[in-house]
């Protein structure tokens, strides 16, 4: 019984190490694929449109709601200390350094990351990726690198939209509903937000973009190698769920690590 458990533990350890190694090599291959010619500019633009432009409505509503809630809660807390004038500072710093990059990454993982994972998974099980290999067409250059570059371009842009819309939401609630002075809201924002804070938010959004696209495309690409995923359509659905969960957890872990290192 004990020997059985040890064998299982050992096999799981070997599988996890193998999976990490596979994903590490996969990351190197997507980086190499991004520099390989010929570049696929049309596909890159199509992917930026899919990952960026088509995600903008969900980002807009999430940002607006988040900013408005922050405005309400911030006002409630600051009002206790008579510091309503700090509302602009609190809302903008929270959004730019923390909630903007994190929530944008989670939205992109749920919307575009799941789609990328399912697309590659289906292409793998229907032998379309094998067909590319057999035609001597590098699947990393042809399929995956445009998605990676597009996510790296779209994520900071979406994060910026999130920040702007979120701050507008906070302003709307704080100034128009709760009566905070517009001058103190703007002044608080201008005096507290530094270039370093904006840079931190952008670095976070780039790291999260890489994490989301790496995990989501990698899970789809290796759909056949993932233990317990099953076969056929079921394997794609399981791996897609796994990709979204894994990338979301990674975003949250890296958010803490980056804040701890860069703040």
């Amino acid at each position: 019984m004990q020997k059985n458990s040890l064998t299982k533990l050992g096999n799981t350890g070997i599988y996890v190490l193998g999976d990490l190694g596979r994903m590490g090599l996969y990351l190197l291959q997507i980086v190499r694929g991004a520099f390989k010619r010929p570049f696929r500019f049309k596909e890159l633009i199509r992917q930026v449109h899919f990952i960026g432009a088509q995600s903008s409505s969900v980002i807009f509503f999430t940002a607006l709601s988040t900013g408005m809630v922050l405005g309400l809660q911030g006002y409630y807390s600051l009002h206790k200390f008579g510091a309503e004038g700090m509302l602009g500072s609190a809302v903008s710093l929270t959004l730019i350094m923390e909630l903007g990059p994190v929530l944008t990454a989670l939205m992109v993982a749920g919307r575009a990351g799941s789609a990328m994972c399912a697309e590659l998974g289906i292409m793998r099980i229907s032998e379309q990726i094998d067909a590319l290999d057999c035609m001597a067409i590098d699947p990393f250059r042809y399929l995956i690198s445009p998605k990676v570059l597009a996510t790296l371009i779209a994520m900071p842009l979406l994060t910026s939209i999130f920040d702007i819309v979120g701050i507008a939401g906070g302003y709307l609630v704080g100034v128009n509903l709760k009566g905070v002075s517009p001058g103190s809201f703007i002044q608080g924002m201008q005096s507290s937000v530094t270039n370093h804070d904006i840079r931190l938010g952008l670095i976070k959004s780039l790291v999260f973009a890489l994490l989301v696209v790496w995990i989501c495309t990698g899970r789809g690409y290796f759909v056949r190698e993932i233990r317990g995923a099953g076969f056929g359509a079921e394997s794609v659905s399981r791996v897609t769920t796994q990709a979204v969960v894994l990338s979301s957890i990674s975003v949250l872990i890296f958010d803490y690590l980056l804040t701890a290192v860069l703040l």
Binding site: Q128, M135, I137, D138
Partner: protein, 261 residues
């Protein structure tokens, strides 16, 4: 130029299952495939037919032994060398492996656009000619989902032929097709082989029909191979698993012969 297109020398390939057990699919397998001929690779499920194709294409690496393509050992090659090797192959997959988001025309044009420097007009001329040969003219703007199984196979064949392959690999090419369509597909193989002059390797369950095309037959069983220089030679084998194979796959045709044995 050698008259052997592909040669397996003592090739071993094993897989580990989730519980850590090792299963040897090919155990010191050796055989050669002659240039310009048709070789049928047969055998039951899980006997290593598809693994053999993947080893030839460099999609998998052998654990031991060597695989020679036109006399050159391909074990362990990668990068540009592997890409160059693959341009010599054409593959027709079991499920056709067409890109569902592309039209028939774009599917067939893909290898030409990606692997050659031909102009769009040159590509169009070449594709028009191939589609006409394979009776696909008029279907250029359709998507794979709008085609029947037989037509999808023909589009897959058209795509595989674009780079004028020296060696064509067919992985279960008639799976899921009715007998009439199967016959039509085999007829197309014979016609395109006569036109292009490629070496054909057909992995198929469709015995005995596919044997009509075969110059050589390789039967995989429990990690070992039996090579027959002609389909007719199979019936003279005295090996138990070959007799069983003949009995289950060729049915009535050799029934009387088996009774005599």
């Amino acid at each position: 130029m050698t008259d052997i297109a592909i040669e397996f020398k003592d090739v071993v390939k094993s897989f580990s299952s989730a519980d850590g057990k090792k299963q040897t699919v090919l155990d010191k397998v050796s055989f050669s495939i002659p240039v310009g001929k048709t070789t049928v690779v047969a055998g039951g499920s899980g006997q290593g037919k598809s693994v053999t194709l993947k080893l030839i294409l460099g999609l998998m690496q052998a654990d031991k032994g060597s695989i020679l393509v036109n006399g050159k050992d391909i074990s362990g090659i990668g990068g540009r060398e592997l890409e160059e090797l693959r341009t010599r192959f054409g593959v027709l997959f079991q499920g056709s492996a067409l890109f569902d988001s592309m039209t028939v025309y774009d599917n067939v044009a893909l290898p030409l656009r990606e692997r050659t420097k031909k102009t769009e007009q040159e590509i169009k001329d070449q594709i028009d000619e191939t589609l006409e040969q394979l009776e696909l003219s008029g279907h250029e703007e359709k998507y794979p989902a709008q085609l029947s199984g037989g037509m999808q196979k023909r589009v897959g064949l058209a795509r595989a032929l674009q780079l004028k392959p020296e060696i064509m690999l067919f992985d279960e090419p008639t799976t899921g097709l009715d007998p009439v369509m199967t016959q039509e597909i085999y007829h197309l193989f014979a016609r395109t082989q006569a036109l292009v002059g490629y070496t054909a390797i057909i992995v198929s369950h469709d015995i005995p029909k596919v044997l009509n095309l075969a110059d050589q037959v390789i039967i995989l069983n429990s990690g070992k191979v039996d090579v027959f220089e002609s389909p007719e030679a199979i019936q003279w084998s005295k090996k138990e698993h070959i007799l069983e194979f003949v009995k289950t796959t060729m049915g009535q045709i050799y029934q009387s012969h088996l009774m005599e044995k």
